[in-house]
C-alpha cells in the first residue's frame, strides 16, 4: 500500500495551483469593472424572473404587489409534477450510463493504441457538432424501426416513452462526457499509472486506486455536463417522447409558446432553486471528503 500512498502524494504535488499575480493600477480597475458588469449580465435575467414570479399582475411592466399566487396555481397543475419526475428519472439514468460509457471511451482513446482508434475518435466527435433536430429525426426513425423489429421477432409491443427518451439522451451524452474526461486524462502524467502497474497493482487495482481518483474531477465534470444537457433538451425529447412522458423543458416550452407568463416565472424560479440546492449539496458532500470540491463541480476546469 505504501506505493499507492506515494502516488497519492505525488498527485497532491501535481494538483498544487499557482497563485495569481495581481495586475496593478488602471488595468486592474478596468478588469474589476468588466468582471462586475459580466456578473450583472449573467444574473440580470435571473433577478428579473425571481421578482416577476412574486408580482401580483399578469402584465410584466406593472407591479401589482407581492404574492405567492403563481406558486399556489403551480401546485394545482399536476402535469408539472409528472413532467418534473420524468425529467429527473431520465436525467439520472442517462447521466449514470453515459458517464460510465463516456469514461470508458475516454480511457481507451487516451491510454491505449488499438486498431480503429482513430475512427472511433472521429465518430465520438459527431454527436457534439450535429444539429439537435437532425439527431431528433435520426432517433425517431431508429426507434420506429426498432419497434418493428421487436414486434416481428419477439412479439413485443414497444412504444415511445421514458425508455426512448433515456436512450436518446445517452446517445448524445456519451460523446460529451468522453470529451471532458479526455481533457483531464490528457493532462495527467501516465507515468503515475505506469508506476502503479510496474509495482504489480494489476490493471483493475491500478485503475481503481490511481487512475480513477486522478480523473475523478473530470468524471464528475462530465457527469454534471451530461446532467445539464439532459435537463436542457427540448428538441430531441419532443420527437421521441410518448404518452405521459413529457419532460419539464418540453412542458415549459409548451407554456412559453402558449404565453402563460406568471406560471413560467414561478416554474423557472423553482428550477433555479433546485439546481442551486443540488450545487450546495454536492459541494458540501465533496467538501466533507476533503479537497477538490470545486474542481469537481466545474466541467470547464477539467
Amino acid at each position: 500500500m505504501s506505493v499507492l500512498t506515494t502516488v497519492r502524494n505525488a498527485r497532491r504535488t501535481v494538483r498544487r495551483e499557482p497563485e495569481g499575480v495581481q495586475p496593478r493600477g488602471r488595468v486592474a480597475r478596468l478588469l474589476s469593472l468588466h468582471g462586475g458588469a459580466t456578473f450583472l449580465f449573467l444574473y440580470l435575467p435571473i433577478v428579473v424572473l425571481v421578482v416577476l414570479s412574486f408580482n401580483d399582475s399578469r402584465i410584466v411592466g406593472v407591479w401589482g404587489g407581492a404574492t405567492l399566487r403563481w406558486y399556489r396555481e403551480l401546485a394545482g397543475e399536476p402535469a408539472i409534477f409528472t413532467a418534473l419526475r420524468n425529467s429527473i428519472v431520465v436525467a439520472l439514468v442517462s447521466t449514470v450510463v453515459a458517464t460510465a460509457l463516456g469514461t470508458a471511451a475516454a480511457l481507451s482513446l487516451e491510454r491505449f493504441r488499438w486498431r480503429g482508434r482513430r475512427a472511433f475518435d472521429g465518430l465520438l466527435f459527431l454527436p457534439v457538432i450535429i444539429p439537435d433536430v437532425t439527431m431528433a429525426v435520426m432517433l425517431l426513425l431508429l426507434f420506429v424501426q426498432l419497434f418493428d423489429v421487436a414486434g416481428a421477432l419477439f412479439g413485443l409491443r414497444a412504444g415511445f416513452g421514458l425508455g426512448t427518451i433515456t436512450l436518446s439522451h445517452i446517445a448524445f451524452n456519451v460523446a460529451f462526457v468522453a470529451v471532458v474526461v479526455r481533457a483531464r486524462l490528457a493532462r495527467l502524467d501516465p507515468r503515475l499509472e505506469e508506476a502503479a502497474a510496474d509495482l504489480y497493482a494489476g490493471p483493475w487495482r491500478a485503475f481503481r486506486h490511481v487512475t480513477l481518483p486522478l480523473i475523478a474531477p473530470g468524471v464528475a465534470g462530465g457527469a454534471l455536463l451530461a446532467l445539464t444537457l439532459s435537463l436542457d433538451d427540448v428538441v430531441i425529447t419532443s420527437f421521441v417522447s410518448g404518452p405521459g412522458s413529457t419532460t419539464l423543458p418540453v412542458y415549459v416550452f409548451g407554456l412559453i409558446r402558449r404565453g402563460v407568463t406568471p406560471l413560467i416565472n414561478a416554474v423557472s424560479v423553482l428550477m433555479l432553486a433546485g439546481s442551486m440546492l443540488l450545487v450546495v449539496i454536492s459541494l458540501t458532500l465533496q467538501g466533507r471528503r476533503g479537497g477538490g470540491a470545486l474542481r469537481a463541480a466545474v466541467p470547464g476546469r477539467t
Binding site: E17, V137, N265
Partner: protein, 306 residues
C-alpha cells in the same frame, strides 16, 4: 458498470502473456491494443446502435423521394435533395448562420477573455465561489433563461422602460437581430469562460514576470506570452460556442420572432412545414459535413500557429 474498467475481465487479460519469441515491447503493445479495444467495446456498441445506425437511416432517407402527402417514399432513389443544396435560399441561410455564429463567438471572446483573466487574479477562495457563480445560471434551463430575456427586452419590459424614463424615446429590442445575438451570447458565454479560465489558470505566471523583468510592457507581455499560452483555451472555447450557435433553434425563435431564419429553424421547417424528409435529411448530412470540415480546419490552423 464493471465493463468500463480496464480490468473488466482480468482473467482473460492475464492469460495474455508474451508469446514465444516475441519481444516484451511487442507483447506489451499487443496487450495494450487488446485492452484498449476491450474497454472501448461498450461505448462503441452503444454509439453504433444509437448513432451510427440512425445516421445511416437518415443518409438513406436523403436519397429517397417525398411522397405526395409528405410521407417519404423509400425507393425511387435519387439525388434531387442534394441538388437543392445549391439553391440561393439555402446558401443565404447557411451564410447568415455562419455570420451569427462567428459574431457570437467573437463577442463571447471579447467579454469572456478579460473576465476569465480577472477570475484568475482573485484570491483562491473567492475565485472558487465565483466559478460556481458563473456556472449557476448555466445549470438552470436554457429555455427559461432565454425566456427571461424576452421579458427584459419586451416593449413594456424593464430595459425599454428605463430607456424611455431617461427621455431617450421608444426602444424596440425584442424580435431584432440584436436580441438574437444577445440571447446567443448569454446562452453560450459560460462555454467560452470556462475553458479560458482553465487555460489561464494553468499558465505559469513566472513567464509573464520574466517578460516584465526583461523590460516588456504589460501589453507586450500579454501579446507575446499570455495570449499565445492561453490559445488552447481560446480554441476550445470558440469551438464550444460556435458549433451550438450555428445550429441554434430555440433562441432565434423566441427572441428573433422567427424573423431571422438560421440553419436550425430551416432544418426544422423542412421536416415539419414542408414535410420534406429527404431534403431535411440531405441538409442535415451537409451541415454535419460542413461543421466537421470547419472544426477540423480550425483545429489544424491553430495547431500550426502554436
Amino acid at each position: 458498470m464493471r465493463a468500463t474498467a480496464p480490468g473488466g475481465a482480468p482473467a482473460a487479460l492475464r492469460s495474455d502473456l508474451p508469446r514465444d519469441g516475441e519481444s516484451p515491447e511487442r507483447a506489451a503493445a499487443r496487450l495494450a491494443a487488446r485492452r484498449g479495444a476491450l474497454i472501448a467495446l461498450p461505448p462503441i456498441a452503444t454509439m453504433t446502435l444509437l448513432f451510427v445506425i440512425p445516421l445511416a437511416i437518415v443518409a438513406v432517407y436523403s436519397f429517397a423521394t417525398r411522397g405526395r402527402t409528405g410521407r417519404t417514399v423509400l425507393g425511387d432513389w435519387n439525388i434531387a435533395a442534394y441538388a437543392r443544396l445549391g439553391e440561393p435560399l439555402v446558401l443565404e441561410v447557411v451564410g447568415r448562420s455562419l455570420g451569427y455564429a462567428v459574431l457570437t463567438t467573437a463577442i463571447c471572446l471579447v467579454i469572456g477573455y478579460p473576465f476569465a483573466y480577472w477570475l484568475t487574479t482573485r484570491p483562491m477562495r473567492v475565485r472558487a465561489v465565483m466559478i460556481v457563480l458563473v456556472m449557476l445560471p448555466f445549470w438552470s434551463n436554457l429555455l427559461v433563461r432565454t425566456y427571461a430575456w424576452r421579458v427584459l427586452l419586451a416593449s413594456d419590459g424593464p430595459i425599454p422602460a428605463a430607456f424611455a424614463a431617461l427621455g431617450l424615446g421608444e426602444l424596440r429590442l425584442l424580435f431584432t437581430p440584436f436580441a438574437v445575438v444577445l440571447g446567443l451570447v448569454y446562452g453560450y458565454l459560460p462555454f467560452m469562460v470556462l475553458p479560458l479560465y482553465a487555460a489561464l489558470e494553468r499558465l505559469d505566471l513566472r513567464l509573464v514576470e520574466a517578460a516584465r523583468d526583461l523590460g516588456a510592457s504589460g501589453w507586450e507581455a500579454f501579446r507575446h506570452v499570455t495570449w499565445p499560452l492561453s490559445r488552447p483555451g481560446v480554441v476550445a472555447g470558440s469551438v464550444l460556442v460556435m458549433v451550438p450557435t450555428f445550429g441554434a433553434y430555440v433562441t432565434p425563435e423566441l427572441l428573433g420572432g422567427s424573423r431571422t431564419t438560421l440553419v436550425g429553424s430551416f432544418v426544422v421547417r423542412q421536416f415539419l412545414s414542408a414535410r420534406d424528409w429527404p431534403f431535411g435529411s440531405a441538409l442535415s448530412m451537409a451541415i454535419l459535413l460542413l461543421m466537421l470540415v470547419a472544426t477540423v480546419v480550425y483545429f489544424r490552423l491553430q495547431e500550426d500557429r502554436a
